[in-house]
Chain length 483, copies 2
Amino acid sequence: MTLPPLSAMSLNITSLHAAYARGLSPADVLREAFARIAAADDPAIFIHLRSADAALAEAAALPPFDPAAFPLWGVPFAIKDNIDVAGAPTTAACPAFAYTPAEDAFVVARLRAAGAIWLGKTNLDQFATGLVGVRSPYGVPRNALDPQIVPGGSSSGSAVAVARGLVSFALGTDTAGSGRVPAALNNIVGLKPSLGALSGSGMVPACRTLDTISVFGLTVDDAWTATRTACAFDPADPWSKPIPMPALSAAPQGLSIGIPDAASLKVFGDRVQAEAFAAATDALRDMGHRICEIDFTPFYDVASLLYEGAWVAERMAAVEPLFRADPGVFHPVTAQIIGAADRLSATDAFRGIYRLAALKRVTASAMAGLELLAVPTIPAFCTLADLAADPIGPNSRLGTYTNFVNLLNLCGIAVPTGPRRDGRPGSVTLLARDGQDVLAAGLARALHRQRAPDMGATGQPLPPAAQLAPQALVTELPLVLVG
Amino acid sequence: MTLPPLSAMSLNITSLHAAYARGLSPADVLREAFARIAAADDPAIFIHLRSADAALAEAAALPPFDPAAFPLWGVPFAIKDNIDVAGAPTTAACPAFAYTPAEDAFVVARLRAAGAIWLGKTNLDQFATGLVGVRSPYGVPRNALDPQIVPGGSSSGSAVAVARGLVSFALGTDTAGSGRVPAALNNIVGLKPSLGALSGSGMVPACRTLDTISVFGLTVDDAWTATRTACAFDPADPWSKPIPMPALSAAPQGLSIGIPDAASLKVFGDRVQAEAFAAATDALRDMGHRICEIDFTPFYDVASLLYEGAWVAERMAAVEPLFRADPGVFHPVTAQIIGAADRLSATDAFRGIYRLAALKRVTASAMAGLELLAVPTIPAFCTLADLAADPIGPNSRLGTYTNFVNLLNLCGIAVPTGPRRDGRPGSVTLLARDGQDVLAAGLARALHRQRAPDMGATGQPLPPAAQLAPQALVTELPLVLVG
């Protein structure tokens, strides 16, 4: 068999490793990736691009191809620029904040040890504050599918880089939905693990109690492989904890899946999105799962706490010295959002914590008997023009189905569900309880294959599915969720 | 066999139930209890005393004596006046705050359903803010053993009522040590359960994220019986959670117990306390346990967060409307402490939470391999004169070995260890991880019997020990504590 021409090859890990097994050289792949980055003609995707020589030298030093020992052998990836890579500047999209770390972030070190090769640091909404991808002094990455639409944020560059096939996968971060919203807007997979699964050591915090590193991939298998590889307990991160990340097995059967009922589904007038979501839930039903409509009001109540409640003060805590010294170096919208923390007292903070505790009881009751929730990843699309007219409102609406997730300690995965009637990408997020990442990912994989959209903006179909072992259920969680 | 004269009888539950089994009437016991309260000649113990008629009517309505079905049958108890009893005022020692609830607190209802009969609402440091028992407009209860010494707080009246033999047991609350410090100062048992074990529904909060109702008893068996009976999951309290509270079994063997090493033991010059603690730890060693000296500095660092960090803002959250309307109705020291919340921002609150998260890693590491910690309940004694000279400093010192406990989500039990060389009461607190209450109580019971001090200020010895079943270990905690 001959190898396909590199220029036509998807960089998804499955295809890449199949080609490596047949003799393709990582150096050729890296050269192709850098060529694609140049051809992409979008200087706003990367804030810092690694030198090709350094990447090629790393590739040359790889041990022999052994994907069992090195599950990311020769896999090029991008890193959101609020995550440290030794020797490269970390800006968090704020040049005045920039520093050059001496060490890789914990997660980056694990990925590299597994054979992955980083190519660049990607653009973001400054300090990961935003879901739109336009709040950066480094420009606005073009949405991979439609330049009228926002790229989504805050992990804008990472999502676009994956969707355009420039890298195999990319790291994002997710506090309010930054690892899911841009996945939906660019037709790729966005995996937001359980809090504590991926160490935050070497990541610039947004809200330390809610942050996690996340993974974008072209397929669920790729996102899962990278997440699993990155996942390990890190004693240096006070929020790190052991989370089960077994190999994906065959899709779980007969699940009970909650969705917003008709009265509480929010699409802000985008009926096409409602249709697309209904089609996706029909697909889940056809796969043998039980779909249960529930009132989503308490989840929206939780979501409102994130920016209207006290958690914005965590964003101030992350940047306070710079903010006090020179607020003018911040993006004006970011400065406005973070500055709101100054109106909040410690008493307000605890009142927010109490309100969340009370709402957790209500949402736990709503989720009783359900293994998963399924929601549209975004309620409606948002154009650059919408955002120019109102920089805050459309951003808030994008977080409708993401803002509550980290506050409730759920994990989730956004997965493409095929083009909507108008051609825009459909996306559903499957949400599970803390530690049940494998359940959400297993179902997401099956749904992705059932809908079988082309990957990202590459125009390429999903690679053939690997045969998986029969389902192994995750051990029941020790914490009782009682209504 | 004839019954002993009532006036000479201890009200501990074991003795009381033995007498009930032989025909003693609850009405006679209640009359005796009210007579003792009158004879105690201390109007500062109770803020509100129940009418004897009401108590006797309740006793008359009890079902036949059946301690298996009603483990607190005919048992008189007192309730700290920040916990609701239907129809009686709740003041939290602030007359302007008073209200009359329509319902019993969840825990009170459970105790009454088990046959316990409440006699009165007890005095406290206003809003449970203090460890001294002198911060109340209702006077200062006299310490049961020595009128020069503070009664201890904030659960002052409850501890003194038990120590003087006026009731069988009493409810306190514990945020910073209010359920342990007064136990030490009055030579009784103080059980502070795991957070979430005893519902906070119907309790005036101090720091909602750290509060628990606690139990004072003359013996560990009594405190355990009342705690077990009160313990149940309460969906209406967002902090309630299922905690195992099995019957006590024979004392656990061969435990590894951490104690402060010589360099970090704090007694503020009270060498007699250091001697008494050494004797108690020798007793634990002689019982076959391994005593491990550890550096206690990180535990003190946690303790300092409680009043110097942001948690004081929780106290403001609990009383803010009244505080804004009329700060003059507060005890001046209480007003000063709670008012400090106004200097704390929401950002400060989250910084405190981050600092605690980091310190939890350090203390977990210090506790690795240990099942329990043993500490002096108080580092040194504190007289009324000390406190008149400085109302804050001596109070803070009393919390040396208690302030860190709830922040670290530990459970604990303070147990008398016999008179010190100078006759003052010795007390050790055994601390265990969340959910391991039965381990701490089992060892406390054995230590109490081994030291065998008279109970409280009653001059009466411990009742004969019941034969217990062999030890049944609590299931391992699901949460990994990693260093």
